[in-house]
């Protein structure tokens, strides 16, 4: 009997060859996947690399210098405060006056331990400085950190500091300004971080460094009593410290090339090296600013949310409606087919074309409507149609075909058997659609719509054409406001020459990616939540 199929050795070889072919394809697919993953990783790494790292920051007055200088000044200006250049003189003067308290460095104290007594500071002694009194002083044994403040600044008599002490006036013997002992004392008692200072101290610092006029203006804007510590701190930073980022380094350089950074920083006088995460809570909640130190993405995030909101309420209902019509009511006439072909083609039209359409229709032709002028609610700063409404409608047009196509797909995937069962019970067409087709299609419709919304979220080109503002510092207040969006903001920052804006752009990209990720996670959640199992 002759067989027409391969047998024996030939069979073995034949099967092996077929398997090899499969293996080759499999490897190719794996390669494609790996390539995709690598590209994604590279993208992420590049962005993260730019989003944190060392920055050389130059201050007009360094923050610690501001705080230490302020308290030092208060101490030196205190009543009956005497400064000494020579610590031996200080020790002798202190020893001769039982009502005096003084500061020395430990070495100077040791040299005069026979005539002076160290005051114990509750909670551990200060380092680099000794609080001392005369051996003739018989009431001060110890003192708390809290008591040190009045003792060296405002207290007139010893009893002001602690009621049990005598009514004698306090004399202060201090080393001169700039001595290490004095600075060590200030740093340890008051701290050197502006953020830790009480609002009164901050206001005093502000008064010290700003003209009376600037201060009056600050008070006129909002009474001091209503200001929070954070607000005053921000003003102080902006008007007194005035930090400027001189140069920034990427995360990679910051981790592996620290020596070179130190060297470069050494060449910049007044510049402090700081490790910065450019994406901070402040960055997310601050409005746009022309100074990179204060620039944030709040304006852009709000703009994006507003625009996408308009897009959503326009495109999703219209898209679903059109999909229902085409799938359930369309009769397949030549008109329906024409519409269908058009929609499929529109999904492939470059987005800039939609921008031009939006400019012609929403901004120009419907200007009075989209600017809110005919409702009398327009933003006085924009009398034209370059508003959130125009942008949202433009993006709505852009994603409408995608929503329609996805929704049709989802509706078509609902088994015909459900429609037949429903109609067979005497349900009307609409009851069938409402009770069976839509509930079963909704996970697919939602997923498709959210993916389309993500697309709108990341869209840049059409918004530039429609007239996104590049410099906008006010939060949008409604559909008739001028706007900027996250991608526009990123685009604008990357075009800036200052180094810090590149880092801000990277941080903004991370914010954008996080928002997109959240949207997609939400889509998956919805799909799982409403998915019907049959």
């Amino acid at each position: 009997m002759t067989s027409y199929f391969p047998e024996g050795d030939e069979l073995q070889k034949f099967v092996k060859r077929r398997r090899q072919k499969g293996l080759i394809w499999r490897s190719l697919f794996l390669l494609a996947t790996t390539l995709g993953v690598i590209v994604l990783m590279v993208l992420l790494v590049t962005i993260i690399n730019d989003s944190m790292g060392y920055a050389a920051v130059a201050y007009k007055i360094a923050p610690d210098e501001l705080v230490v200088g302020f308290y030092r000044g208060m101490m030196l200006d205190a009543p009956r405060a005497q400064t000494y250049t020579d610590l031996d003189d200080l020790a002798r003067a202190l020893a001769g006056n039982p009502n005096a308290v003084g500061l020395l460095d430990p070495a100077a104290f040791q040299a005069h331990a026979d005539i002076l007594r160290q005051v114990q500071v509750a909670g551990g002694d200060l380092s680099g400085v000794v609080v001392a009194v005369s051996k003739d002083n018989d009431w001060v044994q110890n003192v708390t950190i809290l008591e040190l403040t009045p003792l060296f600044t405002v207290a007139e008599t010893w009893s002001d500091v602690r009621p049990g002490w005598p009514d004698a006036p306090v004399h202060r013997a201090l080393p001169e300004a700039g001595s290490p002992a004095l600075d060590a004392f200030v740093t340890q008692v008051y701290g050197d971080d502006p953020a830790e200072q009480p609002i009164e101290a901050l206001l005093a610092m502000l008064a010290q460094h700003r003209s009376a006029g600037a201060l009056r203006q600050f008070v006129a804007e909002k009474p001091l009593a209503l200001r929070t510590q954070e607000e005053v701190l921000a003003i102080l930073e902006e008007q007194v410290l005035e930090p400027t980022v001189v140069e920034t380094w990427s995360l990679y350089e910051s981790l592996f090339d620290r020596a070179a950074i130190k060297e470069a920083a050494a060449g910049m006088p007044d510049a402090h090296l700081e490790f910065r995460r450019w994406i901070t809570w402040d960055f997310i909640t601050s409005p746009q600013s022309s100074q990179p130190e204060y620039a944030g993405v709040r304006t852009a995030i709000l703009g994006s949310l507003w625009v996408v909101f308009i897009t959503l309420i326009f495109a999703v209902p219209v898209g679903i409606g059109a999909a229902i019509y085409l799938e359930e009511y369309g009769s397949g006439s030549w008109l329906d087919q024409l519409i269908e072909t058009n929609i499929n083609n529109l999904a492939g039209v470059p987005s800039i074309i939609y921008g031009m359409l939006g400019l012609a229709v929403f901004v120009r032709a419907l200007g009075p409507l989209t600017s809110g002028a005919i409702f009398g609610v327009g933003d006085p700063t924009t009398s034209n149609g370059r508003t959130i409404l125009s942008a949202g409608l433009t993006l709505g047009l852009l994603i409408l075909p995608i929503i329609i196509i996805n929704a049709r797909e989802a509706i078509r995937a609902v088994p015909q058997a459900f429609r037949e069962a429903s109609l067979g019970l005497g349900a009307t067409k609409w009851q069938t659609i409402w009770h069976h087709v839509l509930p079963n299609a909704i996970p697919g419709i939602l997923t498709g719509s959210i993916l389309a919304i993500s697309r709108a979220f990341g869209e840049t080109a059409p918004l530039i054409v429609v007239g996104a503002s590049t410099a906008i510092f006010l939060d949008p207040s409604g559909p008739f406001s001028k706007f900027t969006t996250l991608p526009i903001q990123i685009y604008q920052w990357t075009a800036r020459p200052q180094a810090a804006f590149q880092n801000l752009a990277a941080a903004a990209i991370i914010v954008l990616l996080a928002l997109l990720l959240a949207l997609n996670a939400f889509a998956i959640y919805l799909r799982n939540r409403y998915a019907v199992r049959y």
Partner: protein, 261 residues
């Protein structure tokens, strides 16, 4: 216009029923009288138009855009294809059970109750659901899990659920298109028994390719076959015992004895 319930002997009567799918003449000149509260089986080789004819009885063919119907289908003396007849009304009176069980992706309770609800039922819904499930011989199996999905049931139970769903809107007629072809023999037998019980107060028209089933279950049998150009027509109609023992037509006899088909 409303379809008035009359005391007519026939539940459904067709007059020169012709069905076309586009240019294709699928079924020609069917003149059929369906007796009230009886079970009528439609048999014949596949593709001869049994489903097509069955779907004419409740205007299900309206869903197929290319389908076109000529002739009359009289229901209580009224042609259901008259322009003033709303197919929704027809389907409310003439229910349907499909080849593959197709419960809604809802609970067992909602599967049965939904049809009544949308048809404006104002009585006690719980009682209606129970009654319908009892009539479909499913109550005892599902009474403790009415909230479970219709899809948690076995194939045979699903099909009985579909029958209960159809019964819940109190139809005069139930059309069944090969209701047991997706089921195992035991589940099939249960459906057949059920059909017998239901026939006491509803008219049943059942398409089947299973000759034994037709012989066991039906009172009347219509035998369909095709012309050489694949147009289906009704070759013979009569009481089931007569069709299976003394068929008038040679073609019927050949089919029944298994010589073709």
């Amino acid at each position: 216009m409303n379809i008035q319930t009359t005391a007519a002997t026939y539940a459904i009567e067709t007059r020169n029923l012709n069905v076309y799918y586009g240019d294709f003449h699928a079924v020609k000149d069917v003149n059929l009288r369906i007796h009230k509260n009886k079970i009528t089986a439609l048999i014949g080789p596949s593709g001869c138009g049994k489903s097509t004819v069955l779907r004419c009885f409740n205007r299900m063919n309206d869903l197929i855009p290319s389908a076109r119907i000529e002739g009359d289908v009289l229901f209580h003396g009224k042609n259901i294809y008259d322009p003033d007849v709303d197919p929704v009304q027809v389907r409310r009176r003439i229910g349907m059970v499909f080849q593959k069980p197709n419960p809604f992706p809802k609970s067992i309770y909602d599967n049965v109750a939904w049809g009544a609800k949308i048809n404006g039922f104002k009585g006690d819904l719980d009682a209606l659901v129970q009654e319908s499930l009892e009539r479909a011989a499913l109550w005892n199996e599902v009474k403790d899990k009415l909230d479970a999905s219709g899809y948690s049931l076995s194939g045979g139970q699903q099909q009985r659920l579909c029958i209960a769903r159809a019964l819940a809107v109190k139809p005069d007629i139930i059309l069944m298109d090969e209701p047991t072809s997706a089921l195992d023999p035991i589940a099939s037998l249960r459906i057949e028994e059920l059909m017998w019980e239901l026939a006491q107060d509803v008219t049943i028209i059942v398409v089947t390719h299973n000759m034994q089933q037709a012989a066991r279950v039906s009172d009347y049998t219509a035998f369909f076959t095709v012309t050489p150009d694949r147009t289906g027509y009704m070759e013979e109609f009569g009481e089931t015992p007569q069709i299976f023992t003394t068929p008038a037509s040679k073609i019927t006899e050949d089919y029944i004895t298994g010589r073709f088909g």
